[in-house]
């Protein structure tokens, strides 16, 4: 497999001065919520969700520090299906200066020349052709009712200043060893009912009801176009709050905004999502 990574010139100086070198391996993982299911106990309204596919286009993985020095960078994007058992390797950077690299970032972006990570070739082709960065496919179930969704998103987001409260900012490269860093994808975020509140709940009722709208009517398939017909002001005013996010007026806008929050760092760790 052809590897593309750029080593920062400034890194050479660091290596020369450092007391050792080590390696960093980045992986990606969809956790049980994406690999298995999001149980009904996690939802406020009794739905459960099972993904059949969760494709993300990961790239621009960068290890740097707050002084602007770059240790390693891998720009080309690859498509991963994080529904498949993981974690899956994304990139390995060898012989980096053993130091605290406190600025790690990556992107989920709709580039059109991504190659396969662990995704099928036809999925990669479709993601590139459609200009998607994220594609999810699955079913939601409540009692005897099942709804299907197949949604592709062209969102372009850079996840910067990645940190994990328990581990620290960025990554510390060990001397003579390899540190593994997981780019964790949170599949439950697509169903939050608030873009900002810490009290956000997971709901599916309003999304399921969207299947009743539009020309086709209820057919068991919830499309993004149907979500686009649901004005948030038609939903209870204590649900689907938008915080300070501008131009989020429909359920489609809302879910699209939530897609930008799926990228995380080393489990529960957080990055600053920057919209491009």
């Amino acid at each position: 497999m052809k590897k593309h990574w750029l080593m920062g010139v400034s890194c050479l100086a660091l290596v020369a001065c450092s007391s050792g070198e080590g390696n960093v391996t980045f992986t990606t993982y969809g956790e049980d919520f994406i690999e298995k299911q999001i149980p009904a106990s996690a939802f406020e309204d009794g739905w459960s969700v099972k993904y059949d596919k969760f494709l993300v286009k990961l790239g621009e993985v960068k290890v740097a520090n707050h002084e602007g020095e770059t240790a390693a960078e891998q720009s080309p994007a690859k498509v991963y299906d994080v529904h498949r058992p993981g974690p899956v390797d994304v990139a390995t950077f060898n012989d980096l200066a053993s130091a605290e690299w406190d600025e790690v970032s990556y992107a989920i972006a709709p580039v059109t020349d991504a190659t396969a990570g662990n995704a099928d070739a036809e999925d990669v082709t479709r993601m590139n052709t459609e200009g998607w960065s994220v594609y999810v496919e699955g079913t939601a179930t409540k009692g005897t009712v099942t709804k299907r969704f197949r949604w592709g998103f062209p969102t372009n987001t850079v996840y910067e200043h990645c940190e994990n409260e328990d581990i620290g900012n960025g990554v510390t490269v060990p001397k003579g060893g390899t540190e593994t860093v997981q780019l964790t994808i949170h599949g439950d975020h697509l169903f939050f009912d608030d873009l900002q509140s810490a009290d956000a709940k997971m709901r599916f009722d309003a999304i399921a009801a969207a299947d009743s709208t539009g020309i086709v009517g209820p057919d068991g398939d919830i499309t993004l176009d149907e979500l686009g017909l649901v004005d948030l002001t038609s939903l209870p005013s204590n649900q689907y709050g938008t915080g300070g996010a501008g131009s989020v007026r429909t359920l489609r806008d809302f879910v699209t905004a939530l897609v930008r929050t799926v990228g995380h760092y080393r489990g529960e760790g957080e990055c600053s999502p920057r919209v491009r």
Binding site: E165, F192, S197, A198, D199, D231, S237, G241, E268, E270
Partner: protein, 256 residues
């Protein structure tokens, strides 16, 4: 990490201030600054084509708390889920704003005439890197709203809305929120410089999502209200909750 309940936040701030008074090791210094509130008028038709001209706008403001946490950059603890019982991994957590440490607060209850502007009082605060604030609207009392401008509600707007089609609605609307407005952006490294904080309510944002055609039929005096389950009331609630409707700035040079 879920945000602390309001009383605990107040306690945390008090503890911070007390530690300073007792020679605490933190580098933050006590300071105060005035907090004022005003409004900006709608500058364009709203999303439904209504041009709104406010004739009166009042709000009953309770606590205003300043935090270091920046919007969309958060830390939080994992929430309990059944997967953890069987050794699974699944990280569920709420939204992407956590206020972090409290840096200052105004605890007065004031009724503010937004069109005229008014003061909320002085913030009891410390120096530090500010990221956001929380604004709490409260039910006014006879003492805090002696003229009964709000009619017992937290916010009130009266005015005229004119549609691009020519339709006109004279309206009188009130709203009561069930929770504080959290995560209003205010990013500033605040030291001992003189100045004050100004919170400008963008009335255009407040009114942006209201289809005035869904207001009630006019009463005998020709004024419509927003029925509880109407789109107008729903859009009005969402507008008041919209944190981007509150533009918070530091005004240099005002008396501390």
């Amino acid at each position: 990490m879920n945000p602390l309940p309001a009383p605990l936040r107040a306690l945390a701030l008090t503890a911070t201030l007390l530690s300073l008074g007792c020679g605490g090791k933190t580098e933050a210094e006590r300071r105060t600054f005035a907090v004022t509130m005003t409004a900006t008028a709608p500058a364009a038709p709203n999303e439904y084509g209504w041009t709104v001209t406010p004739e009166a706008a009042q709000v009953s403001v309770g606590s205003v708390r300043f935090f270091e946490g920046r919007v969309l950059l958060s830390r939080r603890a994992p929430r309990f889920d059944w997967y953890s019982l069987i050794g699974g991994t699944a990280n569920a957590h709420p939204g992407h704003y956590v206020p972090g440490d409290a840096l200052g607060e105004v605890l007065n209850v004031r009724t503010v005439d937004l069109l005229a502007g008014g003061t909320l009082g002085d913030a009891n605060a410390v120096t530090g890197s500010y990221g956001s604030l929380e604004l709490t609207l409260v039910t006014p009392t006879a003492a805090t709203d002696a003229q009964n401008l709000l009619g017992g509600h937290q916010a009130h707007v009266r005015g005229t809305a004119t549609h691009t089609s020519g339709a006109t609605v004279r309206f009188d609307a009130t709203v009561d929120l069930t929770k504080a407005i959290e995560g209003v952006r205010f990013e500033r490294d605040l030291q001992k410089e003189s100045g004050s904080v100004r919170i400008a309510v963008n009335l255009g944002k407040w009114m942006d999502r209201i289809d005035f055609a869904t207001a009630s039929l006019p009463d005998a005096s020709g004024v419509s209200t927003f029925p509880a389950e109407s789109q107008a009331q729903n859009g009005w609630v969402r507008g008041v909750e919209d944190t981007s409707a509150y533009v918070v700035t530091w005004v240099e040079g005002a008396a501390e």
